[in-house]
């Protein structure tokens, strides 16, 4: 079990970093899509006036 904590640190870093990045991508994507829907609705309003 010598050097076990280096292994734990390496795997914890990999999974934490990947989850944080994936979460960041999906949240940014969700926010952008919501903003796009609002703007498209605004554009339709402007066009129908």
């Amino acid at each position: 079990m010598k050097n076990f904590w280096y292994l734990v640190a390496a795997y914890a870093t990999i999974w934490t970093a990947l989850w944080v990045y994936l979460l960041h991508l999906s949240q940014k994507n969700k926010a952008l899509r919501a903003e796009l829907r609002v703007l498209q609705a605004q554009l339709e309003k402007v066009l129908t006036k």
């Binding site: 795997y11 990999i14 990947l18 703007l39």
Partner: protein
């Protein structure tokens, strides 16, 4: 089967799942492969006699490095296509692959020292392989900084040139691992004559880990390209609204 062909088979087959365009199916296959990879690393692969448990960092460190090289190759190809065709889609692919490549390169640069400390007795050594990998990370961080804030075509073209030139560093890293006598070990995965320095259990574990990382890369690429397309659509709608308001 020669090791090189086994590696190529994994790298070529898994992107096929990306092509099926079903996000849920892709996520399921990715989750399953990741679980199998972890089980193989900790329960199946033998513990290396000289290095002990810490050698198990190898499976994800090398898989992340190979995926990173693939990501930067994609940046190079997509940037060339963007300069040739001037199509936004190629630019979105290049920018997305660069960002994911930097994430994988960061993982390589963190897991490497965590492996080196107990084996070499030092966190970092300025040997050619490590230095060139750090340079590669800096090149593509610079590429991403160029892409910040603006999507002006002139800046996209300049970034594409950086993306292509930056790839020159990748074969240099490979060459430095093979030719320079440094602290970094010589390639064990594929050696001269297409043989491998790994046992069959280690090789199988590594190939599953590589497959999992290739799947992960394409899953992240799918998400990141979708983000780039949403950003582009948003810019188009904003421009239309501004034009109507001005008119």
């Amino acid at each position: 089967m020669p090791t090189w062909w086994a590696v190529m088979l994994v790298v070529m087959v898994f992107p096929g799942i990306y092509a099926c365009r079903n996000r849920v199916f892709h996520a399921l296959v990715l989750g399953l492969t990741m679980h199998i990879a972890l089980l193989l690393v900790f329960l199946y692969a033998p513990t290396e006699q000289m290095q002990g448990m810490v050698q198990k960092i190898f499976y994800f460190h090398v898989a992340a490095a190979l995926t990173m090289f693939g990501a930067f190759l994609l940046v190079c190809v997509a940037s060339s296509m963007y300069l040739w065709k001037q199509a936004e889609w190629w630019d979105a692919i290049a920018c997305s692959a660069a960002e994911i490549g930097v994430v994988f390169c960061t993982l390589v640069l963190i897991t490497g020292p965590l492996w080196a400390r107990p084996i070499w007795g030092t966190w970092w050594s300025w040997d050619p392989t490590l230095t060139l990998t750090l340079v590669l990370w800096l090149i593509y961080v610079a590429y991403l900084l160029l892409r910040l804030e603006t999507s002006a075509p002139q800046r996209a073209r300049f970034a594409a040139i950086v993306g292509i030139i930056g790839f020159v560093d990748v074969p240099l890293i490979r060459w430095s691992v093979e030719k320079w006598r440094t602290l970094h070990p010589k390639p064990v995965l594929v050696q001269a004559g297409g043989t491998t320095g790994l046992t069959s259990a280690m090789l199988l574990t590594f190939l599953v880990c590589l497959g999992a990382f290739v799947l992960l890369f394409f899953y992240l690429l799918r998400e990141r390209v979708s983000l780039a397309q949403s950003q582009h659509a948003l810019a188009v709608v904003r421009q239309e609204i501004d034009e109507h308001c001005a008119g």
